[in-house]
Symmetry: C2
């Protein structure tokens, strides 16, 4: 088994203070590995980085069209949002269209990472709700699919129709039989796969072949993400800021424990990476570095510089250090 | 150069999801290495884990006695507190005793990690201040020393009396010439040393030899930390909860980028560790594991179990995983 390789260095003054290791794979649309670092067969949980795969049955079942879902809703179905008003207002409207309230969500309550939304709750003396959970868009999609299938209120049970459809789509896209699943932060199952499998799925989303329902669903989701980068994460977040920096031409998505994927339609490539220690800052820097390497992101764009190099500043705004992509990676 | 070794595993379901590597050293009071993992000569920034060393001149200069500092104030001088009222009220009183306001602090403003204090600020529409900075106790100590020495208002300049005294005490305790310094989160200099040097300094604090001013200062600081674990960090934090779990018999201290140290007077040992990727959860687990191994912490204590094993729960409170100390460490 190949060990993870150095991806990101954290410098303070003249000393290398911390270092992150990881695995990364770039695949083309035929599923072939174009380039890899670390262990390309490393088995990981994609976590939220696979929300686009989890959203495929929403479209392929006909549910999205039956409920007239907008591109905004499709972007939210793929989102790990930060609970800003632009997210929760749309989730509320979606629930209302379904004749439901947030009580229908299986995801737990989560304090918004969006500061204005967080502060508004605190000032109002209100507890965060399930609608604020970063996955509430995905769960709105699951509820829509459940209603369309006439399935029960439990849409996270792995043996019931919604998650059966999700698992089938996931395994078809990664072209692997998942060796197992874990329960995600939002209580939905999350299926393990290799880093290569995840990159392969993203390449197929970048350049779907064969036409048909699957191809159309892939194109609609990637297009929706690119059209609404603010709905996929939020202000200041890597997914949103880097997608904006690429004019929406590339869809990227983070996952907990430092997973990151990218879908590059122009290059017909898919990328997946996992930082071994789960450090988010390294996953953000590493995906930016690979996007630069493959010609999707301008290396001099302020957001490329920010996520790859810093600077690192302290509480008083002083520059105390910087980040550096490790030699030998990207 | 020896590589860092696996310290902590993060499991979700049946899959090892993430892993942290690090370096750790246990020293006795003669400065000899008792046991080590990874590279015992690894050069690190101790960050806030060396606040006890930075506080030595406050006592040794006579400043602490001249200003009648309480054990609470000495504990705060060694603290990375979370800005709760129990911390900021005491910092305010200390500033008042010095005839100063928080404008005298060189540390920048920081939102409290203490939730009630954070929410109170938000409800009042007030911005966080420099007094809320986790290092404001240390800076109160620096200001006290500056006043006692008749030094100027800039107490973080490495060439002026306060930081000259701090550097001298630090290098004497670690028994190394520091190869350089970085600027810390609070804008004070932070001197690099080896993991062994840091462990050696902690062992000397655990069992000071030779009597005299240095020995007395070490004993007063360790005793103050043990007497006031709530002032050293705050509710729920590893430093506070684990010191409570050991009945205040051991002083422990975390530092940014996953440094942790322990001072064990009964065992006459000092411990220092650094997680290579800067992951705090691993530093907390690793120090707990070493405290258990060296007989200072009951392995079955709820806080030992919490910081070493979890469980990891999701937003809805479901158990989704656990932590495990890596085989071969502690």
């Amino acid at each position: 088994m190949t060990q993870p390789i150095p991806m990101l260095e954290i410098w303070r003054g003249d000393l290398l203070e911390s270092q992150h290791l990881g695995h990364a794979v770039v695949c083309d649309s035929s599923g072939q590995v174009v380039e890899s670092w670390g262990d390309d067969e490393k088995v990981i949980y994609p976590r939220s980085s696979c929300k686009m795969l989890q959203a495929l049955p929403l479209i392929e079942s006909g549910a999205a069209d039956a409920f007239g879902l907008s591109t905004e809703q499709l972007a939210l179905a793929c989102a790990s949002h930060q609970g800003a008003a632009i997210h929760t207002d749309r989730v509320d409207a979606w629930l209302s269209d379904l004749g439901l309230t947030e009580a229908a969500f299986c995801c737990g309550p989560q304090e918004p990472n969006d500061i204005p939304a967080r502060d508004a709750l605190i000032r109002a003396g209100e507890a965060p709700g399930r609608r604020h959970n970063n996955c509430s868009g995905k769960h709105s999609g699951f509820l829509t699919l459940a209603k369309h299938l006439g399935a029960g209120p439990d849409y996270v049970n792995i043996d019931l129709p919604v998650q059966r459809a999700v698992k089938a789509a996931f395994e078809e896209m990664v072209e692997e039989n998942s060796p197992g699943y874990g329960i995600d932060g939002c209580s939905a199952p999350n299926h393990a796969c290799t880093v290569t499998g995840l990159a392969r799925a993203m390449a197929k989303m970048a350049a779907p072949s064969g036409g048909g329902t699957r191809s159309a669903a892939c194109e609609r989701l990637v297009s929706a993400m690119g059209a609404h980068p603010d709905l996929v994460a939020g202000e200041g977040r890597a997914c949103t800021e880097l997608m904006r920096a690429m004019d929406g031409k590339v869809a990227i998505k983070t996952g907990a424990e430092a997973v990151f994927v990218a879908i590059l339609p122009e290059q017909k490539l898919g990328i997946a990476l996992k930082v071994a220690d789960g450090g988010t800052r390294a996953a953000e820097a590493a995906i930016a570095a690979l996007l630069v390497k493959y010609g999707a992101l301008n290396a001099e764009h302020p957001m490329a510089l920010k996520f790859m190099h810093g600077p690192i500043r302290n509480w008083d705004g002083l520059k105390t250090g910087h980040m550096k992509i490790a030699a030998g990676f990207a």
